[in-house]
Amino acid sequence: MFLAKLALKNLTRHKRRVLITASIIALGMAMFLIYDSIQTGLNELSFANIINLETGHIQVVDKEYWEQREKLPLKNLIAQSENLSSVIKEIPYFKAATPQLKFSANLNNGIDQLPVLACGIDSMTYSQVFTTKDYIIEGSMFNQGKQETILGKKLANLMDLKVGDYLTLIFKTKTNTFNTIDLKITGLLQTNNPKINENLVYLPLSLAQQSLNLEGKITGMTIRLKEDGVAQQVSEDLNQSLASLDNKLAAHSWRASAGEVIAMSKAETAEKLTIMSLILLMAAVGIVNTIILSSLERTKEIGMMKALGLKENEIIFIFMVEAMGIGLIGAILGSLLGSLVILYFNLYGINLTALLGGVGDWGLPVMGRLYGYWNLSAFIFVIAFGVIISLLSSILPARWVARKDPIEAMYGIHN
């Protein structure tokens, strides 16, 4: 313990050198923490957007429909039934469930036409499952049973539409004939999800069913749970119960729809590891350099320590503790610096829309402000990492120091 104390006191000999080495490490660590915070924040935001605006926690659809879901077919739909509703209500953590009928349509404003995704919803239950309603920035939700609609503000702007205007949806029905509906716009949406802002038109479910000749049919039921984390497990359980009801039905947790985002976050993890290796290299070079410099200055002292009877291992120990001290200072400084930047992100956020010129379509379903995410494990990781790397990179130079001939060490400079 005395030797450890001595080692830590040694850090005060060249405060500036120690501080510079520690700062290099700190900078790397802070970079990592900030990167991690933004990346995690981005993922969390993406996941939240997917759950809150697109998929809920669990979707129940026909197995064959699921395969074709990107094409929005009007085949393999499911019947709205009391049986299904009651099975769903019995799952653990159940909060709410809502039916949806999705179909592709062309949006016509009388001059231009644009392909969109139309979505028939039951506005009452829909708001219990999705947070879409909170993003209505002009007007309000439509009334069930009326020929009304809400849509993304961006889409509306593109089509030169505003609240109170009428739009026309043109689409093919179940029986492959063309049909149109005129809808009055009651509200405009601006969400964090670019897909919804640019591509979606919501209308009352019953109206959609009638117009498509699909009375009583829905694409699927979407379920909201009381907790995020349990979705996977609950959806597996639900699959079991569904099997006895109708073996064509299947439940899918939101993760199944978030595959792209999850894959992307894996790629980011690889990037993170690259950053980490660079930090590792920087830290190691700094530590090796510092140890070699200190040992050159202290050759006489090391000779004296050997004369006092210190073993090589004890001298190695002293230098390793010193290196560890530098690593620890670096990691703590880095954590502080990282915290400050992350705190700033948390208070003010980063404006993704401004950052990306409002395009918003860059792989992740996010827009708006990104807030840094506090990832405690990243901090623990960084501190442990700083200390361990410093320790490891000090071993070789410390051995080199400790093995020097004590006489050469003491008198070598003079002869």
Binding site: R13, E301, G303, A307, K311, E312, M410
Partner: protein
């Protein structure tokens, strides 16, 4: 049996392409409790001889037996333990650790022994510092001391563990004659109280007079070995 025995010890240093024979065959026996000085002109091999005895270097040829152990047969680790427990060093230029206080510099030597209790450590460190006249300087850092005071710290450090043998290479070279005599008095007192054996090198005839046995080196050989009455 003598505490220390050197038989035919030679040391050859390589200085570039030239071989320097620093010691040319030393035969010497030192009994426990001796108070011996080594004199001789500069370059005669005093420092080299002390380093051989202190197990800091191995002889090129010859044998050193310390307390019954043949030193050249001991591995490095055991040599370190032997120095730690049985040998004290006093260096010409102090070699104190600048980040430690006077107290801690002395404490280090005692801590290394491992089996001394905290209370006893404190007692012994304070006592030895008092007896070298540094009772009031315990919490100073080395750079706040004069050269003479620093050397006294280094003496206290060598003596605090009460080793069997203390080796001092020109311990008084940097001290005025009054302080030199004080230091020699302390060494002599330890020699008598604890039967610690001392070997010190010096150029100073006044310091040499304290020795009970005087060795004189020249060109790596002992040319004189006499008792001092």
């Amino acid at each position: 049996m003598s505490l220390l025995k050197l038989q035919g010890v030679k040391k050859i240093y390589q200085q570039g392409r030239v071989e320097v024979e620093a010691l040319r065959g030393i035969d010497l026996e030192i009994e426990a409790g001796e108070f011996t000085s080594i004199g001789g002109p500069s370059g005669s091999g005093k420092t080299t001889l002390l380093n051989m005895i202190g197990c800091l270097h191995r002889p090129t040829i010859g044998q050193i037996i310390f307390d019954g152990d043949e030193i050249e047969k001991l591995p490095k680790e055991e040599l370190a333990m032997l120095r730690r427990h049985n040998l004290g060093f006093i260096f010409q230029d102090y070699n104190l650790i600048p980040v430690l206080t006077v107290y801690e510099n002395v404490e280090l030597a005692l801590r290394l022994l491992g089996d001394v209790e905290k209370k006893e450590i404190k007692e012994r460190v304070v006592n030895i510092l008092k007896s070298v006249g540094l009772g009031d300087y315990i919490n100073r850092k080395p750079n706040e001391l004069s050269g003479g005071q620093k050397q006294r710290v280094s003496i206290a450090r060598a003596l605090v563990k009460e080793p069997k043998l203390v080796l001092a290479d020109e311990p008084t070279a940097n001290l005025d004659s009054k302080t030199s005599e004080d230091v020699l008095e302390v060494m002599l007192e330890m020699n008598q109280k604890l039967t610690t054996t001392f070997i010190f090198s010096t150029h100073d005839p006044q310091v040499m007079e304290y020795a009970k046995r005087l060795l004189t080196l020249k060109d790596g050989k002992i040319i004189e070995d006499r008792k001092n009455s």
